[in-house]
């Protein structure tokens, strides 16, 4: 708990709880400056993780029809069309009729596998756990669909699957227990099963331009620093690392990003803080409130029976 009250760069239950079985912390570095918005990551993820198709709604939000991360979308490519130059000293388009040049930002979003993960902290069943790779995974055999992790995530990554259960997963035919929908919460596992077999996650493997890079987090951070330096030298407009810093409100992301504009432009919170950062303070406060309630009830007895 103290570890949570003061976030540090290392997750609370990794690597120590795994002893010899602990592996280097693995993660993603998603470099949006080379993302071509092809959505191979979305499809490769769905193929590998057997995620159901979840609707065909045309949004008109540029080429994004998946809209957000959720129970059935573990990689989501955001598309942002802007009248802003891609580089600060020209480049891009300078056509007569356009006052400003265009740029089209694309970003493959994913679970951040936070160092201090709100979803993991609040999960009452231990369905969510920190793996030997330092990643955060929902265990589909444990999750009871309490839904607490859903609002706990500062990024809105997790969601409950409302699609019907699979045939081999029939509900009990009892009142209250007879729910027909899947009802569990799902999110990116960083391909936990593939990692165990020594394979790279499906999205990173498919990514045509290596926008999604997978590897030990330490290495990725180094690589990202170099990349940022290069882009800044090349005067890329708005280039910044997001979630790389172990001192941020979630202790840094296990899956972090290089963005070309402010995080909120991509639908990401600008300064996320894990809600459980305040959990000690909250428990103290709760204890006082509880005690106050005792006193208050006792006070009601002052003044006699009627």
């Amino acid at each position: 708990m103290s570890a949570l009250a003061q976030p540090t760069g290392s997750p609370a239950a990794w690597p120590d709880t795994y002893g010899d079985e602990a592996k280097p912390r693995m993660g993603f570095f998603t470099d949006t400056s080379v993302c071509i918005g092809c959505k191979a990551c979305e499809v490769a993820c769905k193929e590998w993780n057997l995620i159901p198709e979840d609707g065909r709604l045309w949004t008109g939000e540029s080429y994004d029809n998946t809209s957000e991360l959720g129970a059935n979308t573990w990689r989501h490519v955001a598309f942002v069309e802007q009248r802003k130059p891609l580089k600060l000293d020209g480049g891009g388009e300078t056509a007569e009729l356009d006052a400003e040049p265009l740029r089209w930002l694309m970003e493959s979003d994913v679970c951040k596998h936070c160092t201090h993960a709100g979803c993991l902290d609040v999960c009452p069943t231990g369905s969510l756990f920190r793996t030997e790779y330092g990643t955060v995974v929902v265990q589909e055999d444990i999750c009871n669909g309490c839904g607490y992790c859903v609002p706990a995530c500062p990024f809105g990554v997790l969601d409950k699957r409302h699609l019907p259960r699979k045939a081999d997963d029939a509900p009990l035919s009892l009142p209250l227990l007879g729910k027909k929908e899947d009802g569990r919460v799902w999110k990116c596992t960083l391909c936990y099963d593939r990692l165990k077999g020594g394979h790279e996650p499906a999205c990173a493997k498919a990514c045509p331009t290596d926008s999604i890079q997978f590897g030990p987090l330490d290495e990725l951070r180094e690589r990202a620093d170099q990349r940022l330096e290069k882009l800044r030298a090349e005067r890329w407009n708005g280039a910044q690392l997001y979630g790389r810093d172990p001192d941020d409100g979630v202790g840094g992301f296990g899956a972090f990003f290089l963005l070309l504009d402010e995080p909120e432009v991509y639908g990401l919170p600008p300064d996320p803080v894990v809600p459980t950062a305040h959990v000690a303070e909250m428990w103290r406060n709760t204890a006082i409130a509880a005690a106050a309630m005792l006193v208050g009830v006792a006070a009601a007895f002052v003044g006699g029976r009627s």
Partner: protein, 306 residues
């Protein structure tokens, strides 16, 4: 926020301080069971305390009836919770682990203790057997009561929903007061007027505290708290204020004399407290739905940090 300035998606992108106005954090997936559980859990917890003090001062009727009310509420509560689960058949997974970082985990154990204790005591009371065990159970129930009544405030505060998380100082107090008010009101209904003095005073006093706390909370929340003025949270808030205020006034003015007035006043307070839980509950959804509540405070925080 993102107005289609000249009707083009590009103009949207240029001005975007959110992603097409889409939410950043997910709305909770909790169903109506949850605000009702907040109410019944609070009722159970506060009734246990009320019962204990009534026993201590020898108010037998009040003691017996609050014991039964508490026990009944302790049965209703878990049923509501199980019903809300996506996988009700896995309800027992709540007891797989004990996590201090998870108010829901802690709350599950508290509920288990509270429910077992209050129902053991109630059963023994009805059977008139094993008095020492009953007294012990009553003691446990009284101890578990205040945490049961207040933890739910912390449960929702320990999320990334701005209007909940930012109210983490007030919520356990608000929920504790609301619980006390509910327990008082329920007892004021159930107990003849001349033995219901403490219950009435509790209902009146806690109602006033509840209304005051909510006001304080909304003011302190400022921009983020404006959801309490809008939509469902606003309506429920107004209903809550009206009912609680009218009920408390009725109890104060006529509750001592007229059983009918006590029943009416108590009912109004109960209704007001249910409405309060709904107001807070819906405020969370509204807060999640509009990305401004995530982005604006975080941006300010980021800017302040420099």
């Amino acid at each position: 926020m993102s107005h289609h300035h000249d009707g083009s998606i590009t103009a949207v992108g240029t001005q975007m301080d959110s992603y097409y106005g889409r939410p950043i954090v997910k709305e909770p997936v909790w169903q109506p069971e949850i605000p009702f559980y907040f109410f019944f859990g609070g009722l159970a917890g506060a009734s246990g305390v009320l019962h204990a003090f009534a026993g201590l001062v020898g108010n037998k009727t009040l003691a017996r009836r609050t014991l039964l009310i508490g026990a009944a509420a302790d049965i209703v509560g878990p049923i509501l919770l199980v019903s809300d689960l996506g996988r009700p058949e896995r309800a027992l997974n709540m007891f797989r682990v004990f996590k201090v970082t998870s108010p829901m985990s802690v709350g599950s154990w508290v509920l288990l203790v509270s429910g077992s204790a209050s129902n053991t005591a109630a059963a023994l009371e009805l059977m008139g057997k094993l008095k020492p065990v009953k007294v012990a159970a009553e003691f446990v129930s009284a101890l578990a009561g205040p945490p049961l009544a207040t933890y739910t405030g912390t449960l929702i505060a320990d999320t990334s929903i701005p209007v909940w998380h930012e109210a983490r100082h007030e919520l356990p107090w608000l929920f504790g007061a609301s619980a006390a008010s509910s327990a008082g009101a329920a007892a004021a209904i159930a107990v003849p007027v001349d033995e219901a003095g403490p219950a009435r005073r509790l209902a009146i006093g806690a109602s006033v505290v509840t209304l005051g706390l909510k006001e304080v909370m909304q003011r302190r929340l400022g921009f983020v708290g404006e959801v309490y003025e809008k939509e469902e949270a606003g309506s429920y808030g107004r209903i809550s204020k009206l009912c609680t205020g009218a009920g408390a006034a009725l109890l104060a003015l006529a509750g001592k004399r007229s059983r009918a007035a006590a029943v009416a006043g108590g009912s109004l307070v109960l209704a007001g407290e249910v409405a309060l839980r709904w107001s807070v509950f819906r405020a969370g959804f509204q807060s999640a739905r509009d990305p401004r509540y995530v982005v604006v405070p975080q941006r300010e925080r980021k800017a302040a940090r420099g």
